[in-house]
Amino acid sequence: MLQVAVAFARHISQPSPVGLCGVCADFLDVSGAGITLMSGLNSGPVCSSNDRSGAIEDLQFTLGQGPCQDAFATGEPVTETDLAGNRVNRWPQFTPQALEIGARGVFAYPLSAGPARIGVLTLYQDLAGALTEDQEADCRAVAEVIAQTILTSQAASRPGVLADELDNAGAHRAEVHQASGMVAVQLGVDVAEGALRLRAHSYVAGRSIADVAADIVARRLRLSGDDQDDGDGGVSR
């Protein structure tokens, strides 16, 4: 465990969480890796090693469903060695879309800080199959190092202010939350409801929440009152 941590630490040139995903994917020998910061229902990307892992992170955020959410909720690693396998599907919305993106295996490791959890490391494989025992042990070790790296970055920041590197990485998903506020005013509801409407619209429209939010913020899209579950029906452009 210590050896892994040291090897990993040497592997990264800078102690910044943002550069970690590519290193993770290489080091753990998987198709892709994404690191997500989480707080309650909110989550945001710290980094992803490639477009596919970025898309998988976005998909889980849009749906509020997937291995990342489960790992965060339980504090235990969540493993699915073959999303296309013929078994009870724990993520009915996530699975088909994840397969479409090109993921067959997904592996999520919670980023823990003592009893608290701050995020999740999500790995995907483009082929079905379990990780080796060594890989699994390495994943746990790497998750510990990532958690520590994130906390270290934040520790240098003023209280209440998100560390620059996390902020710049978009961990706060600025546009999504701006759009939630806009939708709330458009529909005359509170922000929590605005966020739900935004999410529902994205799901029904089959788009990522980030894309829909960008359209709303750019005022290319407004959600109207009857836009609850009928997709584009209530959209005016």
Partner: protein
């Protein structure tokens, strides 16, 4: 920690050999550190085991808080707790000396210590105690507190008991340090989440303002910042009020001069 007490069969005066009980105690202490544990429960177990394993009638544990003030964390019985509190209130006694010097304090006959601790010595004697052994809870130069043994006899404590008391104290020290490390990292995690939540709150409020006044996000942010400064309030607090609906959006529209 109830688990720990349940696992341990009734021991004092029973068949279980002292060595076995000893070994079991240390294994249990080590085990409990692996999982989540309650530091007060664990220290109470240490105090109880001292009474069961050593030539002592009562035991108490004092621990310094983050400001360096000592507090009673655990005691084998109410008498020990009262004696610990008594020392803290009167700012004198063997336990305080062990903490402040970082060295063990041995007092085999309290009747001879009325000069050193006039108030404590007389109170302890009145409670029926004749001798006190106090051991610092210490890692290198860092003293965290003290483990104190109160005895109704004035015999010298056997050398093996003294070494054992120190070993139990060391176990307690490790537990205390681990507990503090966990607290520290939990605090950091809480700060990180607070920072993330603040940032999100500000973005949501920006969105509401931008939509209401048909302005862009940077103008919305500027408006919030101007309001915060003018009213001497934190940006996050203003954003939170906007979201809660307690601060009307129109209140942030700049007034013409």
């Amino acid at each position: 920690m109830t688990e720990m007490s349940e696992r341990l069969p009734q021991m004092k005066g029973q068949t279980m050999a002292r060595e076995e009980l000893l070994a079991e105690t240390f294994v249990q202490l080590a085990d409990s550190l692996v999982d989540e544990f309650d530091i007060i429960d664990l220290l109470t177990v240490v105090a109880d085991r001292c009474v069961e394993l050593l030539d002592t009638d009562a035991a108490g544990i004092l621990l310094a808080d983050s400001d360096g003030n000592l507090r009673v964390m655990a005691a084998s019985n109410e008498q020990a707790r009262m004696l610990e509190l008594f020392q803290l209130q009167n700012d004198e006694g063997p336990c305080l000396d062990a903490y402040s010097t970082g060295q063990p304090v041995v007092c085999t006959d309290l009747r001879l210590f009325s000069d050193a601790w006039p108030v404590f010595a007389s109170e302890a004697l009145d409670s029926g105690f004749l001798s006190v052994y106090a051991f610092p809870l210490r890692l290198r130069n860092n003293t965290l507190g003290a483990l104190n043994l109160f005895r109704t006899n004035s015999r010298q404590m056997p050398e093996t008991d003294i070494r054992l008391a120190q070993a139990l104290g060391d176990s307690a020290t490790i537990a205390i340090l681990q507990d503090q490390a966990i607290r520290d990292v939990s605090l950091e995690a809480g700060r990180l989440q607070h920072a993330l939540d603040s940032r999100i709150t500000i973005e949501q409020a920006k969105g509401m303002l931008a939509e209401r006044s048909n302005i862009d996000m940077s103008d919305a942010f500027e408006r919030m910042r101007t309001y915060s400064r003018a009213n001497n309030r934190q940006l996050t607090a203003v954003a939170a009020d906007i979201i809660a609906g307690t601060l009307p959006l129109d209140a942030l529209i700049p007034q013409p001069a």
